[in-house]
């Protein structure tokens, strides 16, 4: 059994059996919609128009961040609202801002409706796939940076949501737990057993931030660089020592606990607060501050660690905490795609 055959013969729907897809009512307010995302621990969810039952877009944390950056930024950006590079998004945001009061008066509960925020962020344009497509097809789409696919049945109705994380979880489960020094894999995957440094010889330039910069700065950098997480580092000569990381989804801790003041904290302190809140919610179980692997860790082991920690990226370090690179779920999808192409 080799990895290519398995991926070709497994169907997308098999990976999410038993999933109850969470959708968001398009008339909900921003706060309610985001609170729902947070409660169900998803990073995005499809928005359904109640009257037609149609999927009108996806709500994602990046949309919320766009909203926050707009409302709370102190930058005077002039009449054209050119905070954001993309004109269409800027246009949509301008519309929201100029009409927020009128729109909220139309809405019976006087709230800003969530459908206005849908798809503000380009990272999740609505993508659909027939539910029984082979996993290889999903990997191909994911390798382009799409994070989530809406799986639909033959009649166009919603079957469920397939994410990059679901692929990683599946892959992690078909191999035995990798223990250093043991290779006992019955499934053939040569690259899987190689160190992660060989799988991707060119280490990406990691975008980092100093621990004394503010959270708003971090959000701005992430948004403009279209990344979803930024490493908090301490510069020591040529080395960058990894001290923490902040992701777009950390905003959910701000929402959940109504701690908006945290947005102005230095990013290092914000990170400590987040870890404290997370530990409290995790029944006092503490975790490593940042999910890392050494450069020599095998690809399969990295995938297994990603799956168990439910992370969207993992940081590659050497000699203790010296930051080398970051490996995102999209990077893995690209890796898998090139493996599949190779074996065609």
């Amino acid at each position: 059994m080799n990895i290519t055959t398995i991926l070709k013969e497994t169907k997308c729907c098999d990976l999410i059996k038993g999933q109850v897809p969470i959708t968001i009512d398009s008339t909900k307010s921003v706060e309610e919609g985001c609170k729902e995302l947070v409660e169900h621990q998803f990073t995005s969810a499809p928005i359904i128009d109640k009257s037609t039952g149609k999927i009108i877009g996806m709500l994602d944390y990046r949309d919320l961040v766009a909203f926050i950056l707009l409302v709370f930024t102190k930058e005077k950006d002039g009449q054209d609202h050119k905070i954001f590079l993309d004109y269409d998004r800027g246009h949509k945001i301008k519309y929201i801002v100029e009409n927020a009061s009128k729109l909220s008066q139309e809405d019976e509960n006087n709230k800003l409706s969530i459908h206005l925020l849908a798809d503000l962020s380009l990272k999740n344009p609505t993508n659909t796939l027939i539910y029984n497509s082979p996993v290889t097809k999903a990997i191909e789409i994911f390798s382009n940076g799409i994070h989530r696919l809406i799986l639909i049945k033959e009649d166009g109705s919603l079957y469920g949501i397939l994410s990059q994380s679901d692929i990683v979880k599946y892959l992690a489960s078909i191999f035995p737990v990798q223990i250093p020094g043991h290779t006992n894999n019955s499934i053939k995957w040569e690259l899987g057993e190689k160190p992660i440094s060989l799988a991707k010889p060119e280490f990406n330039e990691v975008i980092t931030i100093d621990r004394y910069s503010s959270v708003m700065d971090a959000l701005r950098i992430m948004y403009n660089s279209t990344i979803s997480s930024i490493a908090i580092v301490e510069n020591m000569g040529t080395k960058k020592i990894l001290r923490g990381n902040i992701s777009m989804t950390d905003i959910k801790e701000v929402i959940k606990n109504n701690k908006w003041r945290l947005l102005w904290y230095p990013v290092g302190n914000f990170f400590e607060e987040i870890r404290k809140m997370q530990e409290f919610e995790n029944n006092g179980l503490d975790k490593v501050p940042v999910y890392t692997v050494g450069a020599e860790t095998s690809v399969i082991k990295v995938i297994q660690k990603l799956a168990v920690t439910k992370g969207h990226r993992i940081w590659i370090v050497t000699e203790g905490d010296s930051l080398l690179s970051v490996y995102s779920l999209t990077d893995f999808m690209k890796l898998l795609k090139s493996e599949l192409d190779k074996n065609q």
Binding site: F72, E98, S101, R261, Y291
Partner: protein
């Protein structure tokens, strides 16, 4: 002047030792610990203490309930620092007790006795706040590199902070580890301080008897079940594993038909979890008794002065921002104000009230 008894009595009354004294006690502790093996063999009766996490007043409770050292022998399973408000006093006291009564108290390493963990979870910040620099943090974290990894009581009870490792099947293998370094990201030393047993719940029923380890969602170490525990005890001729590392609402937890137990010694963890705590009293014939206790009564505890931790001015400013942002989110402001947000953000530009930091 070197006077351990004086240092200890200062610490019992929660007086901070001077930086130079901390440096000295850490140097001497390193010399002492250096001579101890990765695994220390001791005899019962002894009392085993789990995580205390800087909850100094609760450590005093432990001594009140269990008896003061050296009248009672103690094994501390690590996690002395982080989270609580008095990590410095806690670790300083335990270090001095170890120097004064080296055969009456054993200190092993927990996952929090690490430079990167203490920089995120509070100890570093506390040292800086109390001493104005990071030297004390450095002295202690250098000393942590010398702490042992386990203790065996009467050749029968194996005490470790976290749990077992797939890379380690025998006690001899633990003895071979080079422990004198920062806890690595992976490997046997990491696993011993980070691993957890699988809970007994029905969710994991099928995993309990697996003979392989699972990767831990904590991001380090593994998760192991009953079968792995049984095998380890059998191969090494041991009767029981006692560990800490996991919060227990009742203060302790016994698993796998008493092959393994968890002892947790920080009551009302983080001053908000509402849990009980316990210490494990091992009698001369290896009888085990979990002495459960709650947090020390308020009138015996000194609550930290909040100005020690929060700058009063920035708290007022935080509240101001909180009000402003909550108003925006609740749409309580006038129509004119909303239209202004995009154009010139006047609502947020309270220049005359803002400290320079925010501009």
């Amino acid at each position: 002047m070197w006077d351990l008894d004086k240092f200890i009595s200062m610490l019992y009354s929660r007086q901070l030792l001077p930086e130079s004294t901390i440096k000295e006690i850490c140097e001497k502790a390193k010399e002492l610990l250096c001579r101890e093996g990765n695994i220390q063999y001791i005899q019962a009766p002894v009392t085993v203490v789990g995580d205390v996490h800087g909850q100094f007043f609760d450590v005093l409770e432990i001594f009140k309930i269990g008896g003061y050292c050296p009248d009672t022998n103690y094994v501390f399973l690590g996690d002395y620092v982080d989270r609580g408000y008095y990590s410095v006093e806690t670790i300083a006291l335990l270090t001095c007790l170890k120097l004064r009564y080296p055969n009456r108290i054993q200190l092993i390493r927990g996952n929090h006795e690490s430079r990167s963990i203490t920089q995120t979870y509070g100890f570093y910040t506390e040292c800086f706040r109390k001493y104005g620099n990071s030297n004390v943090w450095k002295y202690f974290t250098d000393m942590f590199d010398f702490l042992g990894l386990g203790v065996i009581i009467n050749d029968s009870i194996f005490c470790v902070h976290g749990g077992l490792s797939p890379s380690v099947h025998t006690i001899d293998q633990i003895k071979m580890i080079d422990r004198f370094k920062e806890i690595p990201h992976e490997g046997p030393m990491t696993d011993l301080v980070w691993s957890d047993p699988l809970p007994n719940s029905s969710t994991f029923a099928s995993d309990l008897d697996r003979s392989d380890f699972l990767i831990s969602p904590r991001g380090a170490g593994y998760v192991f079940g009953r079968e792995i525990t049984r095998k380890f005890l059998e191969i090494n001729g041991l009767g029981h594993i006692c560990r800490a590392h996991q919060l227990c609402m009742e203060g302790y937890q016994i698993l796998y038909d008493d092959m393994l137990s968890t002892v947790w010694s920080a009551p009302n963890y983080c001053y908000r979890c509402g849990n009980k705590a316990s210490i494990l009293e091992v009698g001369p014939n290896l009888e085990r008794f979990f002495n459960v206790f709650s947090e020390c009564p308020d009138n015996e505890r000194e609550k930290p002065n909040t100005s020690e931790f929060d700058n009063r001015d920035s708290r007022r400013m935080d509240d101001l921002f909180q009000d402003v942002t909550e108003n925006i989110m609740n749409k309580e402001i006038e129509i004119n104000d909303i239209e202004d947000i995009g154009a010139n953000s006047d609502l947020l530009n309270k220049d005359k009230d803002m400290p320079e930091y925010f501009s």
